[in-house]
Every structure is written in C-alpha cells, then in structure tokens.
C-alpha cells in the first residue's frame, strides 16, 4: 500500500513536469480529438475577435477563452490572454488572474514582451508587493529610453507598491460589511448614495429585472437606480425606482442631497455624458432635468455632490483646460439661483491622472474623492481633504483595507462620520461588485497594563504602576443633524413647509429647504461654528422658530425636532426663539433682526392681525425687577415693529415677569426656556 502511494506521487510529479511545456492547438498534438480541437479553435477565434476590440470587451472574450482552455490548459498565449482579461475586467476578483499569468510565463517566458508587466499587475492587484516590484523592475529593464510613457507608467506602479506596503503596515481600523441580500444581487451593484442620517440608500444596479431587461455590448444588463430604506435597523428589499427616472438605457445614480430630497444621476447622452437632477415631490421623483452649463459641457461629466446648503456643487468632468484626465470642478449658486463659473479645484486636489466619485460631507468642509494620483496604492484610491483657513488640505489616502490596489471609488459618508459606503469586489460578496458598509473605529484603543515593583526594600507593599499611552482623540464629524416631521398642529397632517436656516450673527439666510409634502419629513445639517436660527414657514400658519447655538469644534449630534405649525387663529401663541437682548437690558441684539423680519412679514401679509407681544423672565431676581425688564423688552419689540411701519394699534406690549414659566427655574436649561418673547394673536 505504501509503495503504491509513493508510485502515485511519482507519477503526479512526472505529469507536472511534462505539463511545463507549451502545447499548441495543432492536429499533431490532438490526433484523437479532431472535433474538439476544431471547437476550441473556434472559441479562440471568437474570443480574439472581441479581445482585439479592446479592454471593454475582455469580459465578453473571457468565456470563449476559458472554454478553449478547458480543452488545452497548457497554451502559453491563451493563458496570457485569459490573465490579461482578468486583470482588466472590473467585475472579477483579481486573484483569479495570477495563476494564468504565472502559467503563461512558465510555459513560455517570452510569450509577450510585456509578460513581466502583466505579472507585476497580477501581483500588484493581489498585494504581493515584493513580487510585483520585482516583476515591474524586470519589465522596466526591457524598455528602451524611447518608451517614455511606459517608463513613466511602470515608475508610477513602483511608487504605488511603495505606498501600498506602508498602508498595509498601518491598516485603519474598520469593519467592512456586505450590506446584505436585500440590497446586493448576484449582478453588479455600485455607487451607493445615502441620506445624511443613513435612512435612505440609493444605488445603481445591473440586475436582470432592469428596465427593458436588455444586455449591453459588454454583456451586462443596463443600469437602473434602486432604493432601500432603513427600517428597524435593517435595509428593506431594494426596489427599482421606476419611471420617469429609469429608462431602457443606462440610468446611474451619482449623488443624493443630505436630506434625500434631490438626486443626481448620470446619463450617457450618446457618449456626451451629462449630469441630471431630480427632486422628490411627495413620493414621486420629478423627471430628470439636465443640469445647465457650466456644470454640463460637451465633454464628459460624471460624479456630482452638493453642499449641505444646496448652493455649492462639486462634480467630475474631463473638459479641456484641466490638469489631465478627469478633474473635479466646483461652482456656486448666486442669490437668484443661477450657477456661477466652473472652477477647477486646482493642483491641490486634481492631478494629471483621473479623479472620480466626489462626495461632500454635510459639515461643509470635508471632501471625499477618488484619485489615481496623489499617494494611490493602485488605480483609484479614496482620499479626503478638508477646507480650512481658506485652503484645501493635502489629500489623505483613507488607507488600507478600504483602499486596495484596484479601483476604489464612489465612496460616501454618513453625517456622523462613523459609516462609509462604497462598492467593492470581495470574497464574501453576493456576486460581481457589491455594496459595502464601512464602520470606522478610529485610532486603535490602547490596552492598559498594570504592573508593580518592590521599590522599597524594607516594605512588603509593592508600588503600582499603570502603563498607559496618551489618550486618543476620538474624531467625529463636526456637524449637527436636525430632523423631524412638520405637521398641522390641529389635524396632525404632514405639511410641506419652508425651512429657512439663518446665520444669526450675519443675519443672512444660509439655506432654505422644504419638508416632504407626503411625509412632512425634513432633514437639515448644521456645520459647527455658528448660531443658527431656524424658521419654519407656511402660508396660513404662524411661523415657528428654533435656535441652535453650535460652537466651533462641537462634535456630531443628532437632534430630532418635530414641529407643529399653528393656524393663524385667535389665541394662537408662539415663542420667538431667535429674539435676543443684551444681558439685563431691553436692547435688541442684531442677531434678532431676521426673526423680527419674519414677524413684520407676517403682519404685512395679514393686515387685519392684532397681536400681543409678551416678555417673560426666569425666576432669578425680584418679581418687580423682572416685571419691569420683561415689560421693557416687549416694548422694544413693539417699537421695532412700529419702526418697520406696523400700525401701533395692532400691537400690544406686555411684560409678565416671572409669573408665567413654561419650564422649571431650577436648571439653567429651564431658565433659558423661561426667558422668552412670545406673541399671541388677539384678533384677525
């Protein structure tokens, strides 16, 4: 028995050594298999026809080559071509390429002049850095001084290997999770976009139930846009968002506003490549509308992202005058809603290589994008840059294992900065490209050791010591996410209302949004560093105001604030939360002017309205003092309104001092609520 096994091994060894020689597809080599040889040669012919059209058809060529390879796995050129296809096709795991390339080289070391380059690519893509460097270097030696472009390319690849080695040495701490089968399919799923609160995800998919259900020339179904909602912490089954967005052609989503009420999509337009926008009106998406110049051009535009205030757009275009390849551009809307000039983001962000997949965090200053340049470890890597002190910081590679030697792009981030989403090909995927959620854990948390020593010879009690590294800074995004539902106070029906965000110090409206007409939902993001006034307005209703003072450097917070709007009716009463007085005085601060404008407008809009302005204080100090102060403050508001042309007889000023608290006077929070200006409708 033992002998037999030995014999068996010997015969395998013989077979293997025999297998090392190149076997051509000739009649001499396959005397007994003429028909099968004919079929194999036919497959190679079919494959070659596609292969020679260029890399975009490698995916289609591959099945033909693989069939021929089943018949004769020992042909150097065929192995070389299969390896090449695997390196270029976007939807396969790159580890598949390496055995074919290695075999091609073993069968015939001169199978192609660039075999060392291809080996380098295979090792590079599978993160076998030393081998990759070795092969690239060998390839470099075969180049003549005239091959400048090839020389540049291989030198860049060698640099990428250097970066990759470093990133792998210091991996970032993340969990990368497949978002699951309710979203991912066995087909390609990519370009996830999310609302700032991660409650809505939309993405592009090439699954078999796409509109029209036809294959494109690369052999994949046409792109459609799908949507899923977070419900009880789980993603619901993704649905095709249907007409008028999805068509028989390619329909790909590229961006979503933080509130999830506006999306950007890419439409091929016969090769022109343009950005379109759609708005969610109730539960229906508007017809895609092509974005105007200068956002679209005769060149190719792809990714787009919009700032939290909806006023600045960043997008990718390969138009002329850039730094090379695709570049990121930006432009800003003026007060009339017209887009200004397109500005190239410049050499700090753009490189001579391609930039792609841009995303602006709703903090208003952190830009994520992909680039083949900068310190990429291969192909497109994801980078971040922060706008501070008037300039964009040097783009930071977000690191391994999020970035890989292959394309990493269309990365988006939740407002909290805790989760990112992107598409990737990984071992645990549902097939082809899948969507993944990345949970960022931040800097490694230090484990603490405790030790002790018998420092004093005459004492038995040892002296303890804690070995602890410096506290690590926990980094969250610096913004506040404010969301909720706006309803009619009486009927409780959802309302579509206007939400104005005011910079109280500058007295300017920074942004205005609408709540969804069907659900009443709204979501706004407020970057740290300002005193915000929020006014919720709707015709026929009293406006509602909120104040958020969010100092610079404040970390991420999520606030849910449901708002009930009151009808303009006698007895309706609201608190004016953005009216501020100097301490212990009745002098209106300028931060109040925007709110007072809202009030003036209401009185002008409804000329029959008579109102009482009442002042209230907290419980600190004497009743008499507070009564006088509140009375004077109410008068100050009335005086302001009179100054704006409102008839005196429509206004009553009254101070109630500390007599009508709406919250406890025992806490600072309560006292702050009690210090307020109210107005009440007396008649209409």
């Amino acid at each position: 028995m033992k002998k037999l096994i030995v014999l068996f091994f010997v015969s395998i060894a013989c077979l293997q050594s025999m297998a090392q020689s190149n076997v051509e597809f000739t009649k001499d080599n396959f005397k007994d298999k003429k028909d099968a040889l004919k079929d194999a040669l036919e497959e190679i012919k079919l494959g070659d026809e596609l292969y020679e059209m260029g890399p975009f058809l490698y995916r289609s060529a591959l099945p033909h080559y693989l069939k021929a390879n089943d018949f004769n796995p020992n042909n150097a050129l065929l192995n070389y071509k299969i390896g090449t296809c695997y390196v270029f096709v976007k939807t396969v795991i790159k580890s598949k390429a390496v055995p074919y390339i290695e075999k091609a080289y073993k069968l015939n070391p001169t199978v192609s002049p660039d075999i060392h380059y291809l080996l380098g690519r295979g090792y590079h893509l599978t993160m076998q850095w030393d081998k990759a460097k070795q092969e690239y270097t060998m390839y470099r030696q075969t180049l003549s001084s005239k091959d400048i472009d090839k020389m540049k390319d291989v030198d860049k690849k060698l640099n990428e290997c250097g970066y990759g080695i470093n990133y792998m040495k210091n991996p970032i701490r993340v969990f990368i999770d497949n978002v699951g089968t309710t979203i991912n399919s066995r087909f390609s799923d990519y370009t996830p976009v999310i609302s700032a609160d991660e409650d809505v995800m939309m993405f592009t998919s090439r699954r078999d139930n796409s509109t029209g259900a036809k294959l494109d020339q690369e052999g994949e179904y046409f792109e459609d846009i799908y949507i899923s909602y977070k419900f009880n912490k789980e993603w619901t089954q993704a649905k095709n968002i249907g007409a008028p967005i999805n068509t028989n052609g390619h329909d790909a989503i590229i961006g979503l506003s933080p509130s999830g009420q506006k999306l950007f999509m890419y439409i091929d337009d016969k090769g022109d490549g343009n950005i379109y926008e759609c708005d969610l009106l109730g539960d229906k998406w508007s017809k895609p509308e092509k974005m105007p110049k200068p956002i679209n051009s005769s060149s190719h535009e792809s990714a787009a992202t919009i700032s939290f205030d909806g006023k600045t757009i960043y997008w990718v275009s390969d138009r002329e005058g850039g730094l090379g390849g695709k570049d990121i551009y930006t432009c800003t809307k003026n007060e009339k809603g017209k887009w200004g000039e397109a500005v190239n983001m410049g050499a700090g962000i753009n490189t001579p290589y391609n930039e792609e997949g841009v995303f602006m965090l709703p903090d208003g200053k952190t830009l994520y994008f992909s680039s083949e340049g900068h310190t990429s470890m291969g192909a497109l890597d994801i980078f971040s840059s922060v706008y501070e002190n008037g300039k964009w910081s040097t783009p930071q590679n977000i690191g391994y294992p999020v970035n890989t030697p292959d394309n990493d792009m269309f990365f988006v981030m939740s407002a909290s900065g805790k989760h990112g989403y992107y598409s990737s090909i990984r071992e645990d995927g549902q097939g082809e490209v899948d969507l993944y959620q990345i949970s960022f854990l931040g800097v490694e948390k230090q484990m603490v050791l405790n030790t002790e020593d018998n420092l004093l010879a005459n004492q038995t009690a040892p002296v303890s010591e804690t070995n602890i590294a410096a506290q690590v800074e926990v980094k969250t995004s610096q913004l506040t996410l404010l969301k909720g539902i706006i309803t009619d106070a009486l009927t409780k029906n959802p309302l579509e209302a206007l939400i104005e965000i005011v910079d109280n110090e500058k007295n300017v409206v920074i942004a205005s949004f609408s709540s969804n007409s069907k659900t009443g939902k709204y979501l706004v993001t407020l970057p740290s560093g300002k005193n915000y006034g929020i006014a919720v307005k709707k015709e026929g209703y009293l406006f509602h105001s909120e104040n958020f003072d969010i100092p610079l450097g404040s970390g991420y917070q999520e606030i849910t604030k449901d708002v009930e709007l009151k009808n303009i009716a006698v007895g309706s009463k609201i608190v004016l939360k953005n009216i501020f007085f100097d301490f212990d005085k009745a002098t209106l601060r300028k931060e109040s002017f925007n709110e007072l404008e809202n009030l003036t407008k209401l009185l002008n809009d409804v000329p029959s309205l008579k109102i009482e302005i009442s002042g209230h204080t907290d419980g600190k100090g004497s009743a008499a003092y507070n009564l006088t102060l509140s009375d004077n403050r109410a008068k100050a508001v009335v005086d302001y309104l009179v100054g704006k042309g409102i008839a005196k007889d429509r206004l009553v000023a009254k101070g109630y001092g500390l007599t009508r608290p709406i919250a406890t006077n025992d806490t600072e929070e309560g006292r702050q609520l009690n210090r307020r200006t109210e107005f009440e409708i007396l008649s209409k």
Binding site: L441, M447, N454, L456, A457, E465
Partner: protein, 350 residues
Amino acid sequence: MKKTILIFASLLIGVCNSYAQTDTVKAIQFLPDNEAEKFYNSGIANYNKKDYQAAVADYDKAIGLKDNFDKAYYNRGAAKFELKDYKGAVADYNKSIQLQPNNDKAYFSRAQAKNAIGDKEGAIADYTLAIEKNLNYSQAYYYRASVKFENKDYKAAIEDYNKAIIIKPDYAYALNDRGSAKRQLEDYDGAISDYQKAVIANPEMAFAYNNLGSVKRRKGDYKAAIEDYGKAIKIRYDYHIAYNNRGAARYESGDYKGAIEDFDMAIKLQPTYSYAYNNRASAKYKMKNYNGAIDDCSEAIKLDGNYGFAYLNRGNAKEMLRDENGSCSDWKKAAELGVAAGKGYASECK
C-alpha cells in the same frame, strides 16, 4: 550570644522585610536579690522566643519593682511594637528617653513606632534625634530616607541614602532604595547603576533584580529587562510580581505568546492577582482572542470591583466583537472609576 541574636535579627529582616529593626539590650548580670533584673532577663528570653505577651508581663513586673528601670521600658516598647501596640511602644520609649536621654537606639525605635502609627513628621524628628546622638547611625539615615520617599520627597531621600551609604558602602537596601528614588525622578541610568550595586552587595535580593528590570523596561530595553526579571525569578521561584512584569516586558516587545505564559504563571502563583488577569487580557486582545480577553477582564473585575482599567480593556475587546452596548457600558464604568480614557471612548457612544 550577641552574635547569634544579631544573625537572627538580620535573618528576620532579610526574610520578612519586617518593619522592626529593634535591638534588644543584652541581659544583665545580677545579684540574687535583684528581682527586677530577674524579670527583666526573663523578658529578654521570652522576647527571643517571640513570646511577646510573656515578655511584656515580665517587663511589667520589672518596672513594678523598679520604676526608673530605663532598659526595661525600652525593651517593653520593643515587645509592644512586635504586638503592634505602637502607641504603647511610643509611651514606653518616651519613658526610656526621659530616664536615659542619650540612648540613640531609643529615638530610632520610637521613630519606627511613630512611623507605624502614621506619624511621619514625628518619625522624621526622632530619626533626626537619633542621628544627633550617633552621627554614624546609617540605619537612621536609611529609615529617614524611607519616610521621605513615601512622602514623595525623592531628592531629600537620596541625600539621606547617600549618607547611609557613605557610612556603610555595602548597604544593599539603601542602594536598592536610592535606585528607586532615582527611578521616581526618572534618572533611569542612575537607578540602574544603584540597583546593580545593590545586587553586588547582596546577590540574593530578588526584588532588586526585579526593579532593575523595570527601569530597563521603562527605557524600552525589553530584552535586558526580560533577563533581569528572569534573574529575580531564579532567586525567588514564586515571585509573581516579577512574572507579571516579565509578561509586561514581553508584551511591550510584541511577544504576546510569551507574555501570556508569564501572566499564566503569575496567576498560578497568586490566584487573586487581578493585575495579571488584566494584563493577560491585553495580550489576548493583541492576539485577536477577544473572547479570552473579555473572560480575563471579567475575572480581574470579580477580584477587584473598582478595577477601572479592567473595565476599559473589556470595553475595548467588546468593541472588536461588535458588542456596541457592552463596550459602551464598560467604558462608561471605567470613566466613573476615574479612567480618563474611558470618558473619551464613551463619548462616541449613543
């Protein structure tokens, strides 16, 4: 006789690291009628047999017969000291000093007793008086230094250690402790030099090797530290502190497997040693054995419910197992127990 007592005393100190360094006064030759002296000598015999109660009773009788018997007060103080009746000891030394103000040893012993009560100032004052009576009193310098060390006045402690060592150049304890004082002042090279002198003066002092290792560990010289801890363990095979320290050095040098073996041993030798459980958890965390780390932290917490760092570490391990609620509640608990990092980590929690 004197020699044997002396040897006995030094053995006692060496083995137990006992507080007391009390010399009993040698027995007195007496005439048959001198009953007080008879009881006095019986007291000494009982003291040497460690029957301190009987010794006290003997001295009581001696003093009853002869109320100005300064040596009897002195020795009764020593016996009371052994019985941990430090206040009684102080009272006896007071009387002895009153009767015989030039006895340097009485000041020294009273200092020891005052120190035991926690009267550090009184102790320092008495050591100083002892030194005034006997300028070559190396032990008084040494113990005064100890009190200063405990008061974290390391510079002043070093001055006293220096004097003790000038008087007695092979004073192994003083050399060790001066090394420790230098270590506390982060003069690591000075500390190493002193510890090395200490182990030359007394090669059997396991703790000095341990301390030497710990200073080298602080300097980041883990290989040398591991060797020194090994020497300490060789002298004292059950030295769990040195095992724990060697484990820490191995951990810091990246040898997590070796660290775990040492922490295992520390736990085997001292099953209630919460530090070793906590440290083993850290090593298991580094080896990605998060469940094992959690178990060890839980054990450490079971042994010491206020062990903030064990909570912190357990939170870290739970994070890696994606137990968000668990990690957050552990970090919050750590913060409650005064661990600053816990507060920072918990700030991420919902």
